[in-house]
Amino acid sequence: MNQDSQERHQAYWRANTKLIITLLLIWAFVSLGCGILLVPVLNNISLGNVPLGFWFAQQGSIYVFVILIFVYAHQMDKLDRKYNINRRD
């Protein structure tokens, strides 16, 4: 592995870990935060006919989970291209 390619790889890895940390913070916020720790507060607000904290715990967080994974896959496609990480397709 030459110098240039090594630097490119390290930059790619840094960008990847930064993206992972950002997405995991959102993941923890909606599930552990809105779904558990903040429930007593959020339940004072209603979504339709159900308390908001309850909704986050039973449906809302799951929607966010699905979105997070597709966002990650899509952003990684961009990083793969940007740092010219060869793919077999």
């Binding site: 997405l23 995991l24 720790l37 339709g48 715990a57 799951i62 929607y63 989970f65 994974i69 597709f70």
Partner: protein, 563 residues
């Protein structure tokens, strides 16, 4: 036509379909047998993962659990879906890049140690065996309730079906039958849920009618009137800290379960692994966002149908009589007023409902057509069989691949390896069947084990194996042993020896979270004070971090890549 006739037809058709798929995807080489030739498209792998993951417990028991626990049931909803985010971001892409066949493969190679490999093998077998016993039991229950055959016969029929496609087709056969089983189980779950949603709220989409319909406020009112806590009231049965710990343990445990992880070895490349985790969770979310709606609707419906109704009317309900015969529904007019009352006090309560009947009885309670009831039976079987087959392959590959090929006889020929794999699948099925017929009394209790142990053993060493180059053999072995030993000690103590849950009241189900944290600390700490891993292993980690920089191995080059 009666429910029994419909059920027989549906079950037969679905079984013939599984057998046909199993026959047409039979394999001869070890790569096909263990990782489906690494040629499964990401969408198909998503569906297969969803079926693999959603067990008899998800299909039959979860909505029932939620309907009894109310808010506190959210631990299962978030816990069993949130793990996929961890899988997609932290594990799946790197394990796919690693490209071998099993989880112990990764642990053994990354930590250049057969001891680490062996610890991983033992954990994988234990976790999977615990899990599979429950699946075969689920098959037996569905057979006995809907087809009136006895549980033993049901288990044997299930064993034959799973055995056929798993022995012949290995991972490839399992994958494509799981895709079919996903389709069966999701229709079976959604159709009754949509019907009951339409019936109670006038809106057919459970994801919409749950927050915007009026059932939750009505249910809260009824619960309060009967003396229960409101349905949406948080932390009724469990403290906030316990809910937090259990949810994390289930999330991390999900991400560490070997039968889920190996599914990501079967896709063509790293990119497909990322997307297939997304598809998997999307397919799972279809059921998991429907379940809370079904749980509350079914509870509302059951209470209004049964509570304070005259005995003669209840006795005329065909489904109530049938469930009463199974012992899962019980009535007792204690105060002799000619009506049955549901109350929170066991002294005065006259209606006992087992949580397992919530999903299975919903179509009947909601007076849906007989074919819908039959479809639910076929769906329950699909859920149990798909999970069982995935688990059986993990058990088989742990012995045949990790122990026999990697440790005992590395010179084994291709055909010998596949043959040992097939024999081990057969062997694993026999054990699973035995546990299905003679369920050990502790099955329900040891399920906490599967997640706790997966969380406390695999998850930290895999993550650190990819994200921390300095983590070495000594750290990983010490971490896995400390994590496993602590979690086992706590669960065994609390479940069997009346130990006080001394860690701030955290229950056995949630202690895996602490085990995982201990594993992380020990692995990290021990690695820092012992020699760094060899140069070759550090290069391996570098390679794992980049999706496809070097040319694929020769046998992986299909025609589509040679342009």
């Amino acid at each position: 036509m009666s429910v029994e006739v419909w059920t027989t037809i549906f079950v037969l058709i679905s079984f013939i379909l599984y057998l046909y798929i199993g026959w047409s995807s039979r394999v001869r080489d070890s790569k096909g047998f263990y990782v489906a030739g690494q040629g499964v498209p990401s969408l198909a792998n998503g569906a297969a993962t969803a079926a693999d993951w959603m067990s008899a417990a998800s299909f039959i028991s979860m909505a029932g659990l939620i309907s009894f626990l109310g808010y506190d049931g959210s631990i299962y909803l978030m816990g069993w879906t949130g793990g996929y985010v961890l899988l997609a971001l932290l594990l799946a892409p790197y394990l796919r890049k690693f490209g071998k066949y099993t989880v112990p493969d990764f642990v053994g190679d990354r930590y250049y140690s057969n001891i680490a490999r062996l610890v991983a093998v033992v954990a994988a077998i234990f976790v999977s065996l615990t899990y599979v016993a429950g699946q075969m039991r689920g098959v037996g229950i569905v057979f006995s309730r809907f087809l009136q055959v006895n549980i033993e016969t049901g288990v044997v029929i299930g064993m034959v079906i799973v055995g056929f496609f798993a022995v012949l087709g290995g991972m490839k056969g399992i994958t494509w039958t799981q895709v079919a089983q996903y389709v069966v189980l999701i229709f079976a779950f959604l159709i009754p849920a949509i019907a009951i949603s339409l019936l109670l709220t006038g809106n057919p989409i459970p994801q919409v009618s749950f927050p915007f319909g009026d059932i939750i406020p009505k249910l809260n009112q009824i619960q309060t009137d009967l003396g229960f806590q409101e349905y949406t009231q948080p932390f009724v049965n469990k403290s906030m800290l316990d809910v937090l710990f259990i949810t994390i343990a289930l999330m991390v445990g999900t991400a560490g379960l070997p039968h889920v992880i190996v599914r990501f070895y079967t896709v063509p490349d790293v990119r497909a692994a990322r997307y297939s985790a997304g598809w998997a969770l999307l397919f799972i979310a279809l059921l998991y966002t429907t379940a809370p709606a079904l749980a509350s609707f079914a509870r509302y419906n059951l209470i209004t149908t049964l509570h304070d109704q005259p005995i003669q009317e209840v006795r005329q309900l065909d489904w109530a009589n049938k469930w009463e015969q199974t012992g899962l529904l019980a009535f007792d007019d204690k105060n002799q007023d000619g009506r049955f009352q549901l109350t929170p006090d066991p002294e005065t309560n006259e209606i006992t409902i087992d949580r397992d009947i919530i999903v299975l009885s919903t179509p009947e309670v909601a007076k849906l057509a007989p074919w819908v009831i039959a479809l639910v039976a076929a769906g329950g079987l699909a859920a149990a069989l798909s999970t069982a087959s995935g688990l059986l392959l993990v058990i088989s590959s742990s012995v045949a691949h990790d122990v026999y090929y990697r440790m005992i006889n590395p010179g084994a020929s291709e055909s010998l390896r596949v043959m040992v794999g097939r024999i081990m699948v057969g062997f694993a099925i026999a054990i699973a069947g035995y546990f299905g017929v003679n369920p050990p009394g502790f099955v329900a209790q040891v399920v906490a084990f599967a997640f706790g142990l997966a969380a406390a053993s695999f998850f930290p060493v895999i993550i650190l194996g990819v994200f921390d180059k300095r983590t070495n053999r000594e750290g990983a072995i010490a971490g896995m042993i400390v994590g496993l030993a602590f979690t086992m000690f706590y669960i065994l103590g609390v479940k069997f020896y009346n130990m006080e849950p001394w860690f701030f009241g955290v229950s056995a189900e949630g202690i895996g979270t602490l085990g995982m944290i201990l594993n992380f600390i020990v692995t990290f700490g021990v690695s820092r004070v012992t020699p760094p891993p060899p140069e070759s292993v550090q290069r391996l980690v570098e390679e794992l971090r980049t999706p496809g920089d070097e040319p694929p191995a020769i046998e992986e080059v299909g025609e589509e890549y040679l342009d």
